[in-house]
Every structure is written in structure tokens, then in C-alpha cells.
Symmetry: C2
Subunit: 315 residues, 2 copies
Amino acid sequence: VDIAFTARLDADERSAWLRALKAACPGHRWIDMGDGEGPPVKANAEVAVVANPAPGALAGLTGLRLVQSLWAGVERLVADSTLPPEVPLARMVDPSMNDAMAETALWAVLSLHRSYFDYAQQQREGVWRQLPQRRAATVRVLVLGFGAMGRAVSVRLAALGYRVTAWRREGSAHAAGVDVISGQPALHAALPKAEILINLLPVTPQTRGVLSRELFTCLPRGAGVVNLGRGAHLVEADLLAALADGHVGRAVLDVFAEEPLPADHPFWRHPRVTVLPHVAALTDLDTAASVVADNLRRLALGEPLRHLVKRARGY
Amino acid sequence: VDIAFTARLDADERSAWLRALKAACPGHRWIDMGDGEGPPVKANAEVAVVANPAPGALAGLTGLRLVQSLWAGVERLVADSTLPPEVPLARMVDPSMNDAMAETALWAVLSLHRSYFDYAQQQREGVWRQLPQRRAATVRVLVLGFGAMGRAVSVRLAALGYRVTAWRREGSAHAAGVDVISGQPALHAALPKAEILINLLPVTPQTRGVLSRELFTCLPRGAGVVNLGRGAHLVEADLLAALADGHVGRAVLDVFAEEPLPADHPFWRHPRVTVLPHVAALTDLDTAASVVADNLRRLALGEPLRHLVKRARGY
């Protein structure tokens, strides 16, 4: 089939993606629409494979039967009013990205629980001092979001012995060693016990700005906050205030309202903020391309497509 | 029974230990010999409970039936010629310490594999740059030592998907997902593939200085070296040379020839050395005291004592 490809990435990254996609999905005609920043390309294409395209970038395409995102987060695609609502939209759910996200979450929790950020600070100051060490079984971790990534993170933390609660908006779920809760009352009951909070929610109108002053003041004093979701989840000024008044002890941030994080942003030099350059789970081109290949095969055979977005829900 | 207690620790730590021991082992008479630095205390005591005592500190004791170490490493006790060879010597093997050690090893491996030390450096420099991300399944980790701690570390790393080889001096062993090897030829075959090397060997005449120039030059260029064993395992000047010539890319060190690490030691300020103040696995007083209580109970009932040291072997 004819597949339109657009990715808001630099040219090198875009060609690496296209190489991986062509290798995993042979026998198609690929229409390279570049970064999609110019006027919409007019073309007939059954499929659009896209990474975070500019709004309207797909407006010139006709005959679309599937829009496949290369990114897990699709909030911009959902908000693109030029995208025909009847065209199925699939997001990336890649097991190797779930593993990568779990690695980052484990590292952040271990670093907070075992004081490794503090020891790094001590090393810079030439200080040799042993800090109290608690057993993992006494450390309460709250994971917001229980999609593929929230689940992968929760299960691995529980396997290491942490007391893990995972919150989802609604519905129930089972995962080994994890206390899965849902609904606002359960969340409000869990926050005062959450010594480490990990955000892995999707961005929706309901979750935008969820990491706010209101939430931080519910946490126990000195809590660790780990944002692995999106910059839009976090009210950055509220976090700075909560760090200043001690409600939040330390933050690990992978995502920001503006990326790259502006050079003069106070997070860069804050002694209790760890800045990661949006690397918690980089997409593995090869495994992601094989996820795309699977959906193309399903489309050709008329089988149910995987990881379809419910637009009303937003993810 | 009468129990002599000596620990080379400051007075506060010593009283915390004695409190925990008395709580876990009621009904005994405890003879507090302080830090054991003065002339040997003359006393009759069936048991000595000790933490790293000065050589000869137990020379005044008569009637000894057990020396129980509160530390896992007993190389100084083994070398103490005043200790009667017929008195059983038990070392500390505490499951909660194995967990703590595994946490530190996981944190070190995740930090090396996922470039978190590099990202910390980038943050200090205000640099936003994504570095290549590999899957855990492609990262080869070699664990030296397969006692209780080496096993705990290896199994948890394997569960996260790392390619783990564990080396022990002799004999075979099975552990899920871990390639357990033994003997010098197997070690020499494994070193050139070891991208991350973790030392968890006991200190013996054979292992002293094992982390040397000779070993570092066998590693692949840029390897990570993690010393969680003892300072005596590492030839510090050789590590500095291997860091300088690039054979070792980064080192995480928890133990040192002299502790606290002297203020003018080059490790403190080396950009590719992480200094931890001997905190990889702090003893949990309560669980350690219950390990002591178990051996006291066994001694009273004539049951086999646990975790006895083979002095000829050295651990």
C-alpha cells in the first residue's frame, strides 16, 4: 500500500526511522513528507505513519485507513481537528519501551530510597557520611497511570520489595504484588502515604496539570516526585514552591513544558531536581518498526488493529 | 550464657547494637568490652559477638565456644593469631543485607547502562543531549563472587534482562538466568566481554588486589567497574591509570583501602568515579541481631551453627 511518512525530527533521525520502517515493512510505497512543517502534501495514502506531526500536516492525504503514531503519547494527534474522526488512530505500544521506562523508574526509586542523589552531592563536597538506610518493604511508592508502562513499572518495583500502589482513573486490574486502586477518593486516600510518586498518566484534559500544588500538599513531607509522563502534567511553578517549602524533597523530571529545557530554567541548577533530557524510554527503532509492521499486516488481512486510540478518552 | 561484646564503632553505634542484641537475645549476661582498643579484657564468656575487633581484643577471654561476627567480611578475624583455631567463627549472612546489596548493584548497573552518570554531568553543564540507549538484553554484566550477595545481585540483574555471568572460584551452581562459571580459564574468557564488572568476592590472599591493571586491560574498552567488595580488592593506582587510558570508562566504588577516603584522594574529584561512603549494604541492626539469636539458640540446643567460616579458605 501507499504509506505517507512524516516525523517532526531532524533529518538524520527521520532517515533512520524510514530505513527501519522500510526494513520491517517491505513491499510498500513510502511517501516521505519530511517534518510536515510546510504546506500539506497532497497524496493518496492508505496509511500515515507519523511522529508528533504539526497540526494539519495530514490534511492533504486522501484515502486514509490508518494513522499509526510512532510515539506512545498522541495528545497532539487527538487535538488535530484536520484529522478525519472516522480514521482509526493507533499509538505506539512497544514492549521494549515498557522495559526502558521500567529501568528509568527503578533507577529513580532506588536513587531516592537509597540516597544516591545525596551521596553524589556529598562527593562533590568531599563529605564522607553514611545516611540512614531503610528496607524497600517500608518504602511506599504510588504510580499514577496503569497502562502498559504503569503496569511494567509497578510490577518490577513490587518484585524488588517496594510497597507499590498503582492508580488508574477507573476500573480494576490485577498485578502481582501491586495494590491497584481507582477513582478520585482512593487517590486522595493514597497520596498522604506516597513517599515516592511516579507519574505515567496519559495527557488528557483531566490529567493536564495534575502535578500541582494541590497534589503536592497532600504528599507526606519530603516526598520524591518522578515525572516520566509529559511536561503538561506538571505545574512547574508549583513544584518549585513545593521544593522550597519542603513538601517535595526531591524531583526527577524527564519531561518539561518546553523542550529542550530553556537554558535559564531554574530546574537546571536546583540542587534537588534531577533533569533528564526526555530519555526515560527512547523508542527502539527496530522494535517500534515491527509494531508498525504488525498493524499493517492486520490492516491488509482485515484483522483487528492493535493499540487503537479512543479519541473521546484522549489516549 | 555470658556473652562478650566488642565493636570498633563509635559509642552511639555500639550502644545501638547492644540494645538490638539484648532485645533479640534475652536472658544472657552481656559483657561490654567497648571498642576493644585497650588491653584485653579478662573474662569467662562462652560467646563473643564482635564487629571488626582489633587483633588480640579477644585474647583475655576463656571458655569461648563461638565467635559471631556482626560483619559479613571476616578477613581480620581470620588473620587474628590470638584467636584459638578450635573456636568456631561465624560471619553475618543477613537476607536484608543481601537485598540492600542487590539494590546498590542494580542502581550502579542501571546508572552505567542508561548513562545516568553522564546525564548528571550534562545537567551540571546545562547540556540537553540524548545519548544512545541500549536494551538490557545486549548488556553483559560479570559478577565476581557467588556467595549469598553475589547470587542475590546476579539473579535480580538477570530478572531485569541483563546478560549476567557470575564467576566463583570453584564448583558449580545454578541460578535462574545466570551463567555461573568457575576457574581461572573461564574467568579469563569472560573478562573481554564484561562491559560492567561487579566485585563481590571475599577478601582472601588469592583475591587481594584482584582488581588490578592486569584485569582492567582484559576488559573491553570503556567498561564499568563496580567495587562492592572490599578496598583490599582494588589496586587504586591501577584503576586511576585504567581510567586515564580509557580501558575503564567509569567506576563506582563503595569501599577503599583507607576509610573514610582521605580528603586529598583523587577519587573524590575524578569526573568518572562515583564515591560511596561504604553504604552499599549497611547492616540492619534488628535483622542482624535475629541472625545472632538464631546461632545462640543453636549453640544452646547443640544444633549445627550457621555461616561458619572455613579459616583455611578465609571466609
